[in-house]
């Protein structure tokens, strides 16, 4: 028996392999990114011979895993909550059609949000798709529920959603495990076009079937009731991570007059809950982040409180202090108020030496009055430099650039320079179809693909261009050829750290685009600095400030914004913070007074 502190995501990976998954696919996204790497680690450690894939996007990951489940395999697909939006199309249909083996859809939500565009609740998406959803409260439960989800999926022949939240995904606890057994699944594809390729008439019948499955599932739902006192008339209903917070809050309040009903499966709601709630007078539903249990309870009883009645805030993470305050006020328990503080966190920024900084600096220098649509990744932080104007969702920058172009053009207005930025991984994820659309519809702008050779923000997952797989080497999908294949005629590949070359190239591309009504593309190719630093032969360029030449103009510290260049208010000079400098040497080009020198 082996005991180890595991991240919730790692515990889930363990559960998926213990549950017998033979195909696991994912697209990275915080807070879900660590599930697949750990599954890959265990797969190799125990020589399990399972198939573990980083897909190009969530839709691809889902469809691949689903086919395995149709052929009798056990599948898992992993993504973050907004990734499910991308995979929603196949998910909705898979609910109707069902499967043969088993499939668990692991989706990590981000209440807060800490690293996402929205606070959407995947339990709600489950209800929308009519799929059962399990909501673990701890890493250990994440592991157990992964196995349970596979069992339910197999029994009812439908995908089951395992919903995680950031506090479960990135919570840690000690987990014990033994060697994971090998599996031998009976993979076969039984032809049945009426089911696997159902036309609308059959989809109607499948919908009836799905409704029946959900009804049956509501009868074998699991819940646990933590009773403090048989005479209690107060009840809190909850699911997931909130449960742990609630138990600790009640401990903190020294309160035993409130019972807690925890639903392992918040949808479909177990039918017996209707009886339990009749034993209580005051019921408060605390759930994150949407009223999923609350909507379902209303069928049985309407005098309950929660988000719909305004007791629980409609946005933000439910921290323990919030829960303590809500519970004490609602159930009239005395406690000393927490002091209120207004703390702003330090904002994230591009790392010292990041090649994206050079690209953004060139863009704002080339076109001070341009429009800069951008996208999801580390490079969203270009907004600190005023070089990112929009960030909507994965891949949107290209169609948004096109939209801005047509907006101005349709009204015969002068078209400002439009420079769209997108990361390499994001481009493969959903930029390709957007580029085809924009070329086809005769748009004109400059697209800069920030090609740092990796998916940096989520932990350096490989991109199709690298051809690197979990299992070794796959096939390379070259970026330039893909762009060429989308119909782009003007493509430049350059190193953005040569700032002047990049500025000239940007200007030339925009001239071409306006004149020819065509899109031009610059591939700004330079590896992520954090990866370069890991290389043995990394060349650290030591720079210094020549104080005689430094005029204190602050271009390097304020416009170029390298965190290692710091302006000293008292001395009116810039100095270098060597504790953070990564030695890229690019700042030498930024100082027109030549005050930044290579030592």
């Amino acid at each position: 028996m082996h005991k180890e502190i595991l991240l919730g995501n790692e515990a889930v990976a363990l559960g998926l392999l213990e549950g017998g998954c033979n195909v696991i696919s994912a697209y990275p996204g915080t807070p879900s990114s660590e599930v697949l790497p750990y599954a890959n680690h265990l797969n190799k450690k125990f020589n399990l011979q399972r198939f573990v894939e980083w897909s190009v996007n969530e839709k691809s990951a889902f469809e691949l895993a689903y086919a395995n489940a149709i052929a009798g395999g056990n599948s898992a697909v992993i993504m973050k909550q907004v990734g499910l939006n991308v995979a929603m199309d196949p998910l909705m249909s898979a609910a109707y059609i069902g499967l043969k083996g088993a499939m668990v859809v692991v989706v990590a939500d981000d209440p807060g949000p800490y690293s996402s565009q929205t606070e959407q609740d995947t339990r709600f998406a489950a209800m929308f798709a009519k799929l059962p959803v399990l909501d673990p409260s701890t890493p250990q439960e994440g592991r157990e529920f992964a196995k349970k989800a596979l069992k339910i999926s197999n029994k009812y022949e439908i995908p089951v959603i395992l919903r995680l939240t950031n506090r479960v995904s990135h919570g840690k606890q000690d987990i014990e495990y033994e060697e994971i057994p090998k599996i031998n699944l009976d993979i076969k594809f039984e032809k049945n076009p009426q089911r696997w390729a159902a036309i609308p008439r059959f989809r109607y019948l499948q919908h009836i079937e799905l409704n029946n499955k959900i009804k049956k599932l509501a009868n074998e739902n699991e819940y646990s009731l933590k009773k403090y006192n048989d005479k209690n008339k107060n009840l809190i209903i909850t699911s997931g991570c909130c449960y742990s917070h609630i138990i600790d809050s009640l401990k903190y309040l020294n309160c035993e007059k409130v019972d807690v009903l925890k639903l392992d499966m918040p949808y479909p709601l177990n039918i017996e809950v209707s009886d339990i709630i009749n034993n209580y007078e005051n019921i408060l539903i605390i759930e994150e982040t949407m009223p999923v249990i609350e909507y379902q309870i209303l069928k049985y009883r309407n005098n309950v409180d929660g988000r719909l009645t305004g007791i629980i805030p409609g946005e933000g993470e439910l921290s323990i202090d919030k829960i303590v305050k809500i519970v004490s006020e609602y159930f009239k328990i005395k406690f000393v108020q927490f002091p209120e503080f207004n703390t702003k966190s330090k904002k994230p920024e591009l790392c010292p030496g990041c090649p994206h900084r050079s690209s953004f600096y060139a863009i704002i220098k080339a076109f001070p009055k341009g429009i800069y649509p951008s996208d999801i990744g580390c490079y969203t932080l270009g907004l600190n430099m005023n070089a990112v104007d929009t960030c909507l969702c994965m891949g949107a920058t290209i169609n948004q650039a096109s939209g801005f172009y047509h907006a101005f053009k349709s009204q015969n207005k002068e078209i400002p320079p439009i420079v769209a930025t997108i990361g390499d991984s994001t481009f493969y994820h959903s930029g390709v179809t957007a580029l085809i659309n924009s070329v086809y519809n005769k748009s004109a702008f400059v697209l800069v693909v920030l090609d740092n050779g990796t998916t940096a923000m989520t932990g350096f997952q490989p991109t199709p261009e690298s051809g690197i797989l979990n299992s070794g080497h796959g096939n390379k999908v070259p970026l330039k050829e893909v762009i060429k294949g989308c119909g782009i005629e003007k493509i430049h590949v350059l190193n953005p750290n040569n700032i002047n070359e990049m500025i000239e190239c940007l200007k030339e591309c925009w001239d071409y685009s306006v004149k020819n009504e065509k899109i031009s593309v610059i591939i700004a190719k330079e590896p992520c600095t954090l990866l370069k630093l890991r290389e043995k032969d990394y060349k650290f360029i030591k720079i210094k400030i020549n104080e005689d030449k430094c005029t204190g103009c602050r271009v390097c510290s304020d416009k170029f914004q390298c965190p290692s260049l710091i302006y000293d208010e008292k001395r009116k000079k810039v100095f270098i913070d060597y504790s953070t400098c990564n030695g890229c040497g690019v700042c030498v080009q930024v100082c027109k007074f030549e005050a930044i020198e290579i030592e």
């Binding site: 927490f338 702003k344 923000m457 510290s557 965190p563």
Partner: protein, 192 residues
């Protein structure tokens, strides 16, 4: 053992998450129940990073409540001040005498307050400043600041033996920097 709440704060890239890992593992190896929570993603790019570690006989939530931390372990001065209200009145703030400028300061929109030490010393709880960078340098590598601080923290947890901490260190850091880290740990212990 009463539940012991630790909040570790710093700036992305300083090693907050590795320090949390070492603390959790040491607690586990000492036979205690541990829950930990950390934030990944965008904040790891130079933003504020906070990690919660709760140690006790039985721990439910991985989150520490504001005003309930027994110890705040801060890798950076301003971050120590920013999260100081998480400490109990009779809690402790152990902070590194390190300064990293937030982007607002970098962009010239704000100034780094020059009275951080004074503001911290005015707090009700006990405040301990450690010149962690100097000690790390003395141990052999400026980057071992996190291990110096873990060493200092270890003095607050008599339930975990020194050997346990060192065993965990051996498993957590690459062998070529182990000596440096063991020394940094000792220097951290000595700073309390």
């Amino acid at each position: 053992m009463k539940t012991f709440n630790i909040v570790i704060v710093g700036v992305g890239g300083q090693g907050v998450i590795l320090a949390s890992k070492i603390i959790s593992n040491a607690a586990m190896d000492a036979g205690l129940d541990v829950k930990q929570s950390e934030v990944h993603g965008m904040s790891q790019r130079g933003g504020s990073v906070i990690s919660h570690v709760r140690i006790g006989k039985k721990v439910y939530s991985p989150l520490v409540t504001e005003g309930e931390a027994d110890v705040i372990l801060a890798f950076e001065k301003l971050e120590a001040l920013r999260y100081s209200h998480w400490a109990k009145e009779d809690g402790k703030i152990i902070y590194a005498d390190t300064k990293i400028n937030p982007s607002t300061v970098v962009a010239g929109l704000a100034q780094y307050p020059d009275d951080v030490d004074k503001q911290l010393s005015n707090l009700k709880c006990q405040v301990i400043k450690i010149d962690a960078a100097k000690l790390a340098k003395e141990a052999g590598n400026v980057k071992a600041v996190n291990t110096v601080l873990v060493g200092a923290l270890s003095k607050m947890l008599p339930e975990i033996k020194e050997e346990t901490w060192k065993e965990v260190l051996k498993k957590s850091v690459p062998s070529k920097v182990l000596e440096v880290n063991l020394k940094a740990f000792d220097l951290g212990c000595g700073a309390i």
